[in-house]
């Protein structure tokens, strides 16, 4: 039966992954805290004491969660299959590209590219509609943030070219 199943990630794998991530974070926290000293000085506990013991407790709880993962009744349940993975990727990859573009090109250009791109490619809108909505949205954010609230957003090469600082 297992052989006939389409490829998927089980709940057990996800639980184990989660527990290992929190375990490694906890170890990193405890090790990082040891640098600051975890003992006692005349001025009270050293700076690292509190995070160190928090790290130890989280590590212990992560180990507990790891064991509990194998005892779940639904451990063989499907956590992620091909359809869901494709949906996550269709949303997540443009999102990552948007963040990368924001850092390089500034928020406004990245917003236009991201919104316009998603509308055109995934929403199958006409070019003209996609560009109009994307530019309109960016202009709206510009007016609300930079003009009304005087909150400057990340700008890129285009804005310095247009002297929009």
């Amino acid at each position: 039966m297992a052989a006939a199943d389409p490829p998927h990630v089980t709940r057990l794998a996800a639980e184990v992954f989660g527990a290992l991530v929190t375990l490694s974070l906890a170890v990193a926290i405890a090790l990082g805290a040891r640098v600051d000293g975890i003992g006692w000085t005349s001025g009270g506990p050293e700076a690292g004491a509190f995070p160190f013991y928090v790290g130890v407790i989280v590590a212990a709880a992560s180990l507990g969660n790891l064991v509990a993962a194998f005892r779940r009744r639904d451990r063989a349940a499907v956590f992620l299959d091909a359809v869901k993975t494709r949906r996550i990727a269709a949303f997540g990859i443009p999102l990552l590209l948007f963040v990368g573009a924001s850092v390089l090109l500034g928020f406004y250009v990245a917003t236009i590219l991201y919104l316009g791109g998603v509308m055109r490619v995934q929403g199958r809108y006409r070019w003209i509609t996609s560009i109009a909505v994307a530019v309109g949205t960016a202009a709206f954010f510009y007016v609300v943030l930079e003009v009304w609230f005087k909150v400057p957003l990340l700008k890129g090469p285009l804005e310095s070219l247009l002297h929009l600082h």
Partner: protein, 506 residues
């Protein structure tokens, strides 16, 4: 009756045109984030918070709390019309709200939800008005050990009563506490847990964490499910409102019971989500109309809505009086108070009575404004949900990252939000509770300071945590809550072990 005078003074503070306009703006923005998937009360407030850094605290808190009320109302709209809870706390409203709307009674369902929500909120504010200064007075006697015990009690009640796996709750709380220690240590002045990265020197902002965990994480979960809005239409006429208002008195028992559940769960840090579920569960068990539950029974809307809003409102009580928030959103608000330079806790009542009573007065007005606005704008917000997701999805993403960036104008925070988003997705799907992490991030510094100061007072002996009756009671309660899952498991095993034996005796 001293409180009444203070409350009237508070109304005097609040009743200005600017404050009322902020209230309307806050409520409308709140309904918007409540309606949109992926944006909820906690991260809506987080997104708006950076814009209030330069406002005066009274105006800022009015804007943000109004947004909170609006979000609580907005969440119910989508639950009833679209069968999609806009907020986790309005999940229970879908059980009977959507079936009732499908029977063509959408307007009644919505009005019933909003009116009972308003009654719940009113009960919550009355509780705050009556109790908050008394609690604050009591808390003035607290020293560092008592404060640590209160924080410990808050954390323990998440672990013991939160409903999620205790191990997962501990991980969530612990990670929050650890994230709070990153950066400059206020006591020793040394840099902690920065691992040599200059980006971490300023610490990890809880706002970025909330935006990632609740915003991006929630969106990922929603997208994975393959979003499909298939909404019912509703136009709310004055006649429907009158009809629903006429129905309400019949359900006075449900209203009072749900209000009491909500107030209790809001003050203890269980929050609105747990309150609405519990209230629905209890109504389903004890109602004389329990057969209709799940098929569009009005009481199945009234019970979770009243409790949801009573809890959401009364969660402000411990936040104001003790500095310990009762929900994720009030944790964010507490963080906001600290950013505006206020010191949440009992001293706030004596130092800034105008702020405290202005806030309490604004809760009465804000909820009134929210009911009126939400009733009159249902068609508008339902139309927003009909905008295709290829447009609204990226816009929500852009708003989230703008919010993350404006916290500290740092590009590093953008990647941090991505990381928290991925964590939020995983946590949500494998049932790690997220609210404790946020609460711990906000309270981490204060809890640690209280612990270290207690240790200095006692020269390193933990016996200070049972040195007097008050602190000993708090600690004993916390330990009882911590061991609650163990006690529960033990009694279950015991009962199971006993049953076959009993059967043999028979």
């Amino acid at each position: 009756m001293e409180n009444l005078g203070l409350l009237l003074h508070g109304f005097g503070v609040v009743l200005t045109t600017q404050h009322l306009l902020l209230m309307v703006a806050g409520v409308l923005l709140g309904i918007l984030v409540g309606v949109l998937p992926g944006l909820g009360a906690p991260n809506g407030v987080s997104l708006l918070l950076p814009l209030t850094f330069s406002m005066n605290p009274v105006a800022a808190i009015i804007l943000l709390t109004s947004m909170y009320w609006g979000a609580l109302f907005g969440g119910s709209t989508t639950s009833i019309l679209f069968n999609i809870p806009g907020e986790p706390s309005s999940v229970a409203t879908t059980f009977d709200g959507y079936p009732m709307a499908k029977q063509g009674r959408a307007a009644q369902a919505l009005t019933l939800a909003f009116l009972s929500a308003a009654i719940g909120a009113l009960l919550g504010v009355v509780v705050i008005t009556l109790l908050s200064s008394w609690v604050a007075q009591f808390a003035l006697r607290f020293g560092s050990p008592e404060y640590f015990a209160v924080y410990f009690l808050a954390f323990a009640s998440f672990i013991g009563l939160g409903g999620a796996s205790p191990g997962k709750t501990i991980v969530s709380l612990g990670l929050g506490l650890a994230f709070a220690t990153v950066g400059m240590d206020t006591i020793s002045g040394s840099l902690r847990l920065t691992y040599g990265f200059s980006d971490l020197v300023g610490g990890i902002s809880f706002l970025v964490a909330v935006i990632g965990l609740f915003g991006i994480g929630e969106l990922l979960v929603t997208m994975e499910e393959g979003l499909k809005f298939d909404g019912l239409r509703a136009n709310i006429s004055p006649r429907a409102i009158v009809e629903a208002a006429r129905m309400l008195p019949r359900y006075w028992i449900a209203l009072l019971r749900s209000g009491a559940i909500g107030c209790w769960m809001g003050i203890t840090p269980d929050g609105p989500t747990a309150a609405s579920f519990m209230s629905y569960g209890i109504a389903e068990r004890f109602s004389s109309r329990r057969r209709g539950f799940g098929k569009g029974e009005p009481e199945g809307i009234i019970a979770p809505e009243t409790a949801d809003h009573a809890a959401g409102t009364s969660a402000m009580l411990p936040m104001l009086a003790l500095g310990v928030p009762g929900s994720a959103t009030s944790a964010v608000l507490l963080g906001g108070l600290m950013i505006w330079g206020l010191n949440p806790g009992p001293t706030l009542f004596t130092e800034r009575p105008d702020f405290v009573w202005g806030l309490i007065a604004s809760m009465y007005l804000g909820n009134l404004v929210a009911v009126i606005l939400v009733l009159s704008t249902v068609p508008v917000f339902a139309a927003i949900l009909r905008i295709p997701f290829a447009i609204i999805g990226p816009i929500i993403v852009v708003v989230c990252f703008i919010g993350a960036y404006t916290v500290a104008n740092s590009t590093f925070d953008l990647w941090l939000a991505v990381g928290f988003g991925a964590a939020g997705y995983l946590f949500k799907k494998i049932e790690y509770p997220i609210a404790p992490l946020v609460l711990a991030m906000v309270l981490g510094d204060k809890a640690e300071d209280a612990f270290r100061q207690s240790m200095i007072m006692s020269r390193g002996s933990i016996s200070i945590f049972w040195a007097n009756g008050l602190v000993a009671t708090l600690c004993a309660l916390a330990l009882l809550l911590l061991s609650w899952p163990l006690i529960g498991a033990a009694t279950r095993t015991f009962v199971r072990a006993r049953q076959p034996a009993d059967a043999l005796e028979d």
